[in-house]
Symmetry: C2
Subunit: 325 residues, 2 copies
């Protein structure tokens, strides 16, 4: 019987009875206040930070509807934008290394809310996402975390030969390579492989050698991986879909918009070019008002032109080059 024939013959070919698994949702709920992108974080019983997560409920027509309902029912936050990130199902996502560990699937979601309301609870809070990824914030120049991580990373890479070194160089912008703000997940995975994040050490019962300021705050299970995926996805998405506006108030100045984009992408942008792009793309229009509490010449207030969403299938805020100086 041909190989392909076997394929055709397996139960696979029809839609009958797949395996039953434990399936959960994990949501990276993002807001931004002031200069910081924030993510909603809860405390686990074990005292570690975690993303809100829970079982998948069966009563909704679509997964996204289920996610929306699930979050909104509990937070009364209106989710502006929801996107499925990835389905994580690796065996090693268990907290303990127990052998008979049942495989659990986790559907990761990214959700954007316009304002980060005070939580009023000790066990749920909005945290800057750079708390978990200190090496991702280049707005103030090269982060100290990178400097701290560089030596152990290089040591690790040396064992990986030329390939490992190139991988390090390119992902972390070392040795002249330029920083690519979207490779958040790749960097986290590399750090994990290099044994430099607490999750890995935890998973192998080793001690943590690096200060938290360098390695970032750990999260339960694989939640930091989910968050890394969310950040990377969002950083990519703002360039070709107008999702930033889901995080902005209804009226804003161009500088505020720029600071939001900078906060999300973690890099500084060339101001005049940023404005040129945003304006010439017709993403925004003047409200007619100005805001004078800016410490300088008053800024025009803008609003998002909702029409563009359908008008041009939603182009995003293209980023001008990162400011070099």
């Amino acid at each position: 019987m041909s190989d392909i024939r076997k394929l055709a013959a397996m139960p696979a070919a029809d839609t009958g009875a797949p395996a039953a698994l434990a399936v959960g949702l994990t949501a990276a709920i993002v807001a931004a206040t002031g200069e910081e992108p924030r993510v909603l974080v809860v405390r686990t019983a074990q005292g570690s930070d975690a993303l809100p997560s829970g079982p998948l409920e069966a009563q909704h027509r679509t997964l996204e509807a289920g996610l929306r309902n699930w979050v909104e029912r509990r937070t009364h936050q209106a989710l502006g934008y929801v996107e499925q990130l990835y389905t994580f199902g690796d065996r090693d996502r268990r907290e303990t290394d127990g052998e008979g560990a049942q495989r659990a699937l986790s559907l990761g979601y990214l959700a954007l809310v316009r304002e980060a309301r005070p939580t009023g609870a000790a066990d749920a809070s909005w945290q800057s996402w750079y708390r978990y990824f200190p090496w991702e914030d280049w707005r103030g120049g090269r982060p100290a975390a990178i400097a701290a991580l560089e030596p152990p990373l290089r040591e690790w890479a040396a064992q990986g030969g030329k390939l490992g070194q190139e991988r390090l160089r390119l992902n972390f912008g070392l040795g002249g390579a330029r920083w690519n703000e979207e490779r958040v997940l790749e960097r986290y995975e590399l750090l994990y492989e290099a044994g430099l994040v607490p999750e890995r050490l935890r998973d192998r019962n080793e001690g943590a050698p690096l200060p938290e300021a360098a390695r970032g705050v750990a999260m339960a299970v694989d939640h930091r991986r989910v968050l890394a995926t969310a950040i990377g996805r969002l950083r990519g998405k703002i360039k070709y879909r107008p999702v930033v506006f889901e995080l902005m108030p209804s009226a804003f100045t161009l500088s505020e918009l720029q600071r939001m984009v900078e906060a999300l992408s973690g890099v500084r942008l060339h101001k005049q070019n940023f404005r040129r792009l945003v304006e010439q793309q017709g993403l925004v229009e003047e409200t007619g008002d100005t805001r004078s509490e800016t410490g300088g010449r008053p800024a025009r207030l803008m609003r998002y032109r909702r029409e563009v969403l359908v008008e041009r299938l939603a182009p995003g805020v293209r980023l001008p080059a990162m400011r070099r100086t």
Copy 2:
């Protein structure tokens, strides 16, 4: 208790016992021979076309490893590239509209194989993906399927007001809007909403009004949706990751490479500009040989420069503008 507190308090906050669901894999296994991108298709017991799919097995360390193993065990095809597409879990994916339908999750995967071996089986075969999406092939100019679909689409859009009409215009490149080859899924979803694909009619027990040449061949359950996702993802990916080479033989001419890209993206490209991009990006190098069976001046044979993968984190084949004429 604050809303957020509730969120924190729910079982969700830890990783305990999520709901058990039926979970399956569905794979779009793509190869390309000659001028056609092909997908491996099996026949269901009911006689309809389907993608290979089966239950998720628990013994692998990662989902991707499981998928690779699963496919390779059955087809003995080496999967060059594997990518998780999306997790489909909508209620309406059931074939019959039965009420108590249990929710089934389906993890969609895209896999690329270098050659489409003859199947030798009547119930498994490599089919051009344009069989299922005749409106996606613009290589020979505007497809006849678009012309056939346009009147009923316009009729449908008229009921949706200005928004619906814009959506139609932009997704299908009507009225001067330019064709965007990546929006495969959006177009399929729109056709589904408009009731123009058999799946929708089947789901609502209605008859099919359009000829197959226009509406495309239907697939079981939501497999055409999975395939649409795969095509769209691949069409986007080849622009920024060198995945095309996973489908090419080890040595090829630039024209062959171009024809492959055109087959996948479904549009014709400007030849000289295509070469300029590929060459100046250093994606390929000459093998030194030439091939003279081209019917004209012999072409240099090229090979993919494997180094670029790590060297530059794998840029893709940027597409020059679609050929206008």
